[in-house]
Amino acid sequence: MITLLSTWTFGLALGFVALGVFVSYRLFSFPDITTDGSFTLGAVVATVLLVAGVDPLLATLGGMAAGAVAGSCTGMLHALLGIEPLLSGILLTTALASINLVVLGRSNVPLSGVPTLFDRGEKLLLPLARGLGFAETDAGEAARLGCMLLLAALAVLLLYIFFRTRLGTAMRAGGDTPSMARALGRNTGLLTIAGLAIANSLTALSGALVAQYQGFVDVQMGIGMVVWGMASVFLGAALVGPVRLGGALIGTLAGSVTFRLLVAAALRAGLHPDWLKFTTAAVVLAALVAPRFLVRRPQSQSIR
């Protein structure tokens, strides 16, 4: 029971990466490698703040803010200096590898004995979990899951509302068809910078949550996150089909949880953990290639 609950919690925590990749890749067609670096950045900044005695909520928000800064740097490299999306992300992630190491001071730090966001949420939701009939051994984990569900719901709701405002709609238009947005007076460079800031703040939030959930941070923890996010986005799109913004956001979260459950099942069935990243990459490759074989459509439409 505990492992099932924690798989859900972990899947939801990583779901914020998926939401970030949804924003950068789906809305802006920007394959954003910064994801790998900003995931770790969020974890590192939150951890350092927590260890320094900062309130868990503020520490988590601090991690998010750092991710937003990283994302806007990538956006500026692309929009202001004209560097290709992939290269901009690679430059930022490489630079962040040093920054993360310097900020953290060493390559991994445990978070034992420091109160985290989950300790606080657990205290809040434990009575509810018991009330719902969870056994005493499971109630703590159930409360953490409840806490994560609330956060995820809040994120989806805020993203949905934002992207349906005039500014958010202009951002989606700019990501979809830059020529149209510019002809209607939008500065598409600024919109891209803002979009990547939002995407990477979500990714960094994920890193901050994962660090607090697993109780330690490691400077390597972000490797492969962008591919994980893409796998979740593709899986989510396959789960919910062609839907509007709201459905696509929920589908993305569902994709992340489903993918985590599949991974857990594969591990239990005997997949060696060393093969996890390989498997994730294979899933993304399959998702990228499958539409070309399943439906006969012009190539330009095969992904979006």
């Binding site: 349906r164 709609t169 989606r172 209607l184």
Partner: protein
């Protein structure tokens, strides 16, 4: 009012010769003028429009619009004054957004977007009214993704978008070229009507002789980056397809056009 002063744009593609796509062009469109521009492929029509819209930088000369010197303005800054419809419906509308959301972005042209709800009830009723009056039936498809409309329908929505707030100048670059004749006809009628109703200043590029002869109150002919012909007023209104043909002949005689270009023009437009 739009004024170009010795506008010049030169391109040098790697390995190719220097091409003066726009070569010292000067003209003024007084407010309320509907100008139609024709010319062979590569004569510089799109480059000229681009230099007004801000997608192409002038190498020398200047552009003035509605009392502003916009020569150094960015493309998105010029959009405050300029409405545009592209040749490709996919370039002028965002396919994954609904019709109403596309109109919502147009309703923010030239002003801060802000955090208000994009598809408000007031926008919806105004959109239904405006779309319905110009293309009955479209008002029932506001919530459909615009990518699922036909090219002609998309161009009509694009027209409504470009003129949602009255632009100081409406730029149309072969905006019916991607459409079948029937759809092109509907879009042309919608165009003429919007320009008349809002008394717009417009510059329309077309390859259709029918459109060039029947629309607008001024005709501009581009050739090799220059204005080879500029007919306005009563002379333009009297202009028929046959007149255009003889004009081409006269131009050829005066050696402003070479033989092949004149032949192409005659084939294209007459």
């Amino acid at each position: 009012m739009l004024t170009l002063n010795s506008a010049t744009v030169a391109f040098s593609a790697p390995g190719g010769p220097l091409v003066r796509a726009v070569d010292g062009v000067s003209f003024t469109l007084p407010a309320g003028t509907f100008a139609v521009m024709i010319g062979t492929n590569g004569s510089g029509k799109s480059t000229l429009q681009g230099s007004v819209a801000g997608t192409v930088r002038l190498d020398s000369g200047s552009v003035q619009l509605a009392g502003h010197d916009i020569t150094r303005w960015s493309e998105h800054a010029r959009a405050r004054l300029v409405g545009r419809v592209f040749q490709d419906p996919r370039a002028g509308t965002a396919a994954s957004l609904s019709v109403l959301e596309n109109l919502a972005v147009a309703a923010c042209r030239g002003r801060p977007a802000g955090l208000g709800w994009a598809t408000s009830a007031s926008l919806r009723s105004l959109a239904a009214e405006r779309l319905g009056s110009i293309a009955p039936g479209l008002e029932d498809r506001l919530d459909q993704q615009i990518g699922s409309l036909s090219g002609g329908q998309r161009q009509i929505v694009a027209l409504v978008m470009a003129t949602w707030h009255r632009p100081e100048l409406l730029l149309l670059d072969e905006h019916t070229a991607a459409l079948d004749p029937a759809a092109a006809d509907r879009v042309v009628q919608a165009t003429a009507r919007l320009i008349r109703e809002q008394n717009l200043t417009a510059l329309m590029v077309t390859h259709s002789l029918k459109q060039a002869a029947s629309l607008g109150d001024r005709l501009l002919l581009m050739h090799r980056g220059r204005l080879a012909l500029d007919v306005a007023g009563a002379a333009k209104r009297r202009l028929s397809a046959d007149d255009l043909a003889s004009r081409f002949d006269r131009l050829r005689a005066s050696d402003q056009l070479d033989d092949t270009a004149a032949r192409t023009l005659t084939e294209l437009y007459v």
